[in-house]
C-alpha cells in the first residue's frame, strides 16, 4: 500500500505482546505494511522454550529458586507469583531496567523482555466485560463515563475469541457474558462436589470452570493442550494463546510484517503543521544505534506503563506535557485489581478421587455483589470475582512434619486431603492520585527518563477485601470445608499484573487521552490499544478486552485511512 516516499511503513506497532500481536495481525491482514518494534530480544518459538517439559531434576537446584540471583537481578519480578527457573528467560532484568521504586509505597512493575511480551507468561484467564462494567463510572461518579458500551465491543470479542480459541462453559449470565467457546475443561472431583453444594446452599453464586485461552480441542491449525502443566515456560504445540502461537504467525503469513527486536522506542515525533505524528525514534538495545521510522499510523501496544512512558516522553511545543495530554489525565487513574486476598479450605471429601493430567486452569465464581444496583449490606462500590482451584496436599505441603525414615517417606508419598482456594480479584476505582510519572533526574541505560509510581489502594479497595474474606469464608462453609485459612493481606499495586489506566478513554478531550476508537486526542494517527486506555478496571482479567479493543481500533483506523481521513 505504501505509495509515498515519506513513509517507511504503513503502520508501526510498538510492542509485540497480546495487544501488539493483535494489531500486527489485523493491520497486515488488511493489507498494510507493518513494522513491529519490540524492546526485548527475539526468540524462536518452540526451540527456545528450554524450560518446557524440563522435569524438576533438570532444573537448577531442582526447582528451588536461586534466591541470590533473584535478589540481585530480579528484585521486582521475584515479588510476583510467576517467575521461576523454567521461565526466567522471558522476564525483565530489574537491574538493567530500573525505575523509581518507593519502598514505602511500592508499585511492582511486572514486565517481560522478549518478543511476545507477557503473552508468553500470562495467566490465560479470559472473561468478557459486561454492560455494568462499562456503565459503572457513569453510575457512581468515579472516573469519567466510558464512551463505549458492551454492545460496541461484543462483535469484537467474538472476532478475537474465534481466532484465539477460548475454552469455557456458557452460562447465559448478564454479569459474565459468554464467549465463543471451545469445549470446557473438566472439573476436579472435589470441585464438582463443591459446585453441587453451592447450588443448594449458596444459589446466588455460579461456580464454573475457568474460561481460558487454551485449546481444549485442535483449533485453527494449533494442537489441543497436552496437559503438561506449566504453560508459562512456553508451549511448542502453540496450545495456549500467545503472540508466538497465534497472532505473529498470522501476521507473518501475509508477507506484510517486519519485526524488529531489541528496538527500544524513545519517543514519537509530532509534526505540528500536519497535526500528526511523523516518526518514531528508536534505540537499538544492543548497539545503542539510533534510528527513526515513518508511517501513516502508529499503534502503541507497549503495555500500560510502557505506552504511557512513550507518550510522556514525546513532548513538543504543541504537547509540552506529553503527547495527547491536553487534559492532564496522562499518567493518572492508574489501576490494578484487589489481589492476594482469599480463603483456603481443607476438605475430606472425595478422598478416593484423584486426577490424571495437569489442568492449566482453575474454576471461577463470577461477581455476585452489587449486581444491577447496590446490595443493602455492601458498604463498597463495584465488585469482585473468585478464581479458585482444588488440589490435594502432597509432600510439598507436608515436608515439615516431624519424624524420620520409612514412616515419613510413606506418609509424604501419598496424597493428603483436598484443598480448595478462592482467590479474589476486585475492581479498583480510578483515582486521580494513583499515577505514574517520568522522573526528570533519573534516566535508564538508553537515556530515557525513568518511570516512577505514586499509587495506593483506598477505602473502597479495603472494603472489597473485607467482603471477599467474609463472603469467601461463608462459601467455604457452604462448600463443606472442615477448616479454613484466610489470606488477608492485599498485594501491593502491580502484583495483580492487571495494571491499567494512565491514558484513559473518553469523549471529552479535556478529560481523557484517547477517544472511543483508542485514537489519541490531537494526534489522530496514533492509537493506544493496550491497558493504558482503560477508563475503569472491572474485576475480570483484562487481556481479552485489550484484544477486542485492539482489533476494533485497527478496523476503524484502516477504514479512516481508506476514506482519506488519516
Amino acid at each position: 500500500m505504501i505509495q509515498s516516499e515519506n513513509y517507511d511503513f504503513d503502520a508501526i506497532v510498538v510492542g509485540s505482546g497480546i495487544s501488539g500481536g493483535w494489531a500486527a495481525k489485523e493491520l497486515t491482514e488488511k493489507g498494510l505494511k507493518v513494522l513491529v518494534l519490540e524492546r526485548g530480544r527475539d526468540i524462536t518459538p518452540g526451540l527456545d522454550y528450554y524450560g518446557e517439559h524440563a522435569p524438576d531434576w533438570k532444573l537448577p537446584y531442582q526447582g528451588k529458586k536461586p534466591r541470590e540471583l533473584y535478589e540481585n537481578e530480579y528484585p521486582i519480578q521475584s515479588h510476583g507469583y510467576a517467575l521461576n527457573e523454567g521461565n526466567r528467560q522471558f522476564w525483565n532484568n530489574d537491574k538493567d531496567n530500573p525505575y523509581v521504586f518507593d519502598a514505602e509505597k511500592p508499585f511492582y512493575w511486572m514486565r517481560a523482555d522478549v518478543v511476545g511480551g507477557r503473552s508468553l507468561i500470562w495467566g490465560r484467564q479470559t472473561y468478557r466485560w459486561c454492560e455494568q462494567d462499562f456503565t459503572a463510572n457513569a453510575t457512581d461518579g468515579h472516573g469519567i463515563p466510558w464512551p463505549i458500551g458492551y454492545r460496541d465491543l461484543a462483535p469484537w470479542y467474538s472476532h478475537v475469541e474465534k481466532f484465539a480459541g477460548i475454552s469455557g462453559e456458557a452460562l447465559g449470565l448478564d454479569e459474565l457474558p459468554d464467549s465463543e467457546f471451545l469445549k470446557p475443561m473438566e472439573m476436579h472431583a472435589l470441585e464438582k462436589t463443591i459446585q453441587g453444594r453451592l447450588r443448594k446452599k449458596a444459589p446466588h453464586v455460579h461456580m464454573t470452570i475457568g474460561r481460558v485461552a487454551i485449546l481444549s480441542e485442535d483449533h485453527n491449525g494449533r494442537a489441543a493442550c497436552h496437559y503438561c502443566g506449566p504453560c508459562d515456560r512456553g508451549c511448542s504445540t502453540g496450545s495456549y494463546f500467545s503472540s508466538h502461537s497465534a497472532t505473529l504467525p498470522a501476521a507473518r503469513a501475509t508477507g506484510n510484517l517486519t519485526l524488529k527486536a531489541n528496538a527500544v522506542v524513545e519517543r514519537l515525533e509530532y509534526d505540528a503543521q500536519g497535526g500528526r505524528v511523523s516518526a518514531v525514534h528508536v534505540i537499538d538495545s544492543k548497539t545503542g544505534e539510533r534510528s527513526a521510522f515513518r508511517a501513516r499510523l502508529y499503534f502503541l501496544c507497549a503495555s500500560t506503563v510502557g505506552s504511557t512512558q512513550i507518550l510522556m516522553n514525546s513532548r513538543s511545543e504543541a504537547f509540552p506535557d506529553g503527547l495527547g495530554n491536553r487534559s492532564g489525565a496522562l499518567g493518572h487513574y492508574l489501576m490494578d485489581h484487589v489481589y492476594g486476598v482469599g480463603v483456603t479450605g481443607i476438605f475430606y471429601d472425595d478422598m478416593d478421587r484423584y486426577w490424571f493430567g495437569n489442568r492449566p486452569n482453575g474454576t471461577y465464581i463470577p461477581r455476585f455483589r452489587n449486581l444491577g444496583g447496590q446490595d443493602d449490606d455492601a458498604g463498597f462500590l463495584r465488585g469482585y470475582g473468585y478464581q479458585g482451584a482444588a488440589m490435594r496436599m502432597d509432600w510439598k505441603t507436608g515436608f515439615n512434619k516431624k519424624g524420620f525414615g520409612a514412616e515419613l517417606k510413606e506418609s509424604l508419598r501419598k496424597p493428603g486431603p483436598w484443598v480448595f482456594h478462592l482467590a479474589g480479584f476486585g475492581e479498583v476505582l480510578p483515582q486521580y492520585n494513583n499515577r505514574m510519572y517520568l522522573d526528570a533526574k533519573k534516566v535508564g541505560r538508553f537515556g530515557i527518563p525513568q518511570v516512577g509510581f505514586d499509587c495506593q489502594w483506598g477505602d473502597n479497595e479495603r472494603m472489597i477485601r473485607d467482603d471477599m474474606l467474609e463472603q469467601g469464608e461463608g462459601l467455604m462453609k457452604a462448600a463443606g470445608a472442615v477448616f479454613t485459612v484466610r489470606m488477608e493481606e492485599m498485594g501491593e499495586p502491580g502484583l495483580g499484573i492487571h495494571e491499567m489506566g494512565t491514558a484513559r478513554m473518553g469523549d471529552d478531550p479535556a478529560q481523557s487521552v484517547v477517544n472511543a476508537h483508542n485514537q489519541v486526542h490531537g494526534a489522530p494517527n496514533v492509537f493506544v490499544t493496550d491497558g493504558a486506555c482503560m477508563t475503569s478496571s472491572s474485576c475480570v482479567n483484562p487481556s481479552l478486552t485489550y484484544m477486542a479493543l485492539t482489533a476494533r481500533a485497527c478496523d476503524y483506523a484502516v477504514k479512516q485511512l481508506a476514506q482519506g481521513r488519516l
Binding site: 522435569p55 537446584y61 473438566e186 478421587r353 515439615n400
Partner: protein
C-alpha cells in the same frame, strides 16, 4: 520441530536416556532443544570425605531405601552438597557447618564411631534428639509451606528440608516413589485413587 519430533524430545527429557543409546536420529532442531533443556551441572565440591559420608548417611536415615529407592539412590547427597555450597547464604551455611560438626563430634563422643557406622536405630536416636531440641523452630509451623527458606532453621531442619526436596524432585524420587507423567495428553478430574497410590510429581501448573 514437528509434533512427532517434539514428542520424542519430551520422551528423552523424561527418561534421561541418551539418544544414542536408543539409536534415535535427532534433527538439528531437536539437538538444539535438548541442549537448552538440560540443566545438569557439574558436581559440587564442598565437603571433605568424612563429611560427605555423614551427610549421605543422615539423608538416607531421613529417606531410606525401602522397596523403593532411598536418598542415596536418588542422588540426594550430591544435591545437598550443591545446595550448601551454592544456595545457602553465609549465615545458613554457618548453621549447617556447625550442626554437621556437632553431630560428627557427638556420635564419636557417645558411641566412639562416626554417624554412618552406627546401627540404624542409633542413627534414628541421634536425629530424634536433634529434632526434639529444635522443635520450637518456626520451621515446624503449620503453614510453613510454599514460602521462603526459614533462614535461622537449625541444622536438622535444613537437612530434612534439603533431603525431602532433593528426594522428591529427583528422577528416582519422582518416577519410582511418586508417579510422574510428563505428557498426559488428557485431563481426567475423576481418576480413582487406590489406597497405595502415590502423588503425582512435578509442577501441576
Amino acid at each position: 520441530m514437528n509434533r512427532r519430533e517434539f514428542m520424542q524430545c519430551a520422551a528423552l527429557l523424561v527418561s534421561g536416556v541418551a539418544a544414542t543409546r536408543i539409536s534415535m536420529a535427532l534433527s538439528d532442531e531437536q539437538k538444539h532443544y535438548l541442549a537448552r533443556a538440560n540443566y545438569n551441572r557439574t558436581p559440587a565440591n564442598y565437603f571433605n570425605e568424612a563429611q560427605r559420608r555423614t551427610v549421605a548417611a543422615v539423608a538416607e536415615t531421613i529417606m531410606p531405601a525401602t522397596d523403593t529407592p532411598g536418598a542415596i539412590d536418588a542422588g540426594v547427597p550430591g544435591f545437598i552438597e550443591n545446595m550448601v555450597q551454592d544456595w545457602l547464604n553465609n549465615a545458613e551455611r554457618a548453621i549447617f557447618d556447625q550442626g554437621l560438626a556437632e553431630l560428627m563430634a557427638s556420635t564419636q563422643r557417645s558411641y566412639g564411631k562416626s554417624f554412618e557406622m552406627l546401627e540404624p536405630a542409633q542413627q534414628s536416636d541421634c536425629l530424634e534428639a536433634l529434632e526434639s531440641a529444635a522443635s520450637d523452630s518456626a520451621w515446624y509451623d503449620f503453614g510453613n509451606t510454599q514460602r521462603v527458606f526459614v533462614s535461622d532453621a537449625p541444622f536438622i531442619c535444613q537437612m530434612k528440608e534439603l533431603t525431602i526436596w532433593g528426594f522428591f524432585t529427583s528422577e528416582a524420587g519422582a518416577t519410582q516413589v511418586l508417579r510422574y507423567e510428563a505428557m498426559p495428553m488428557t485431563f481426567d478430574g475423576n481418576r480413582e485413587l487406590g489406597p497405595d497410590d502415590s502423588s503425582w510429581a512435578g509442577t501441576p501448573y
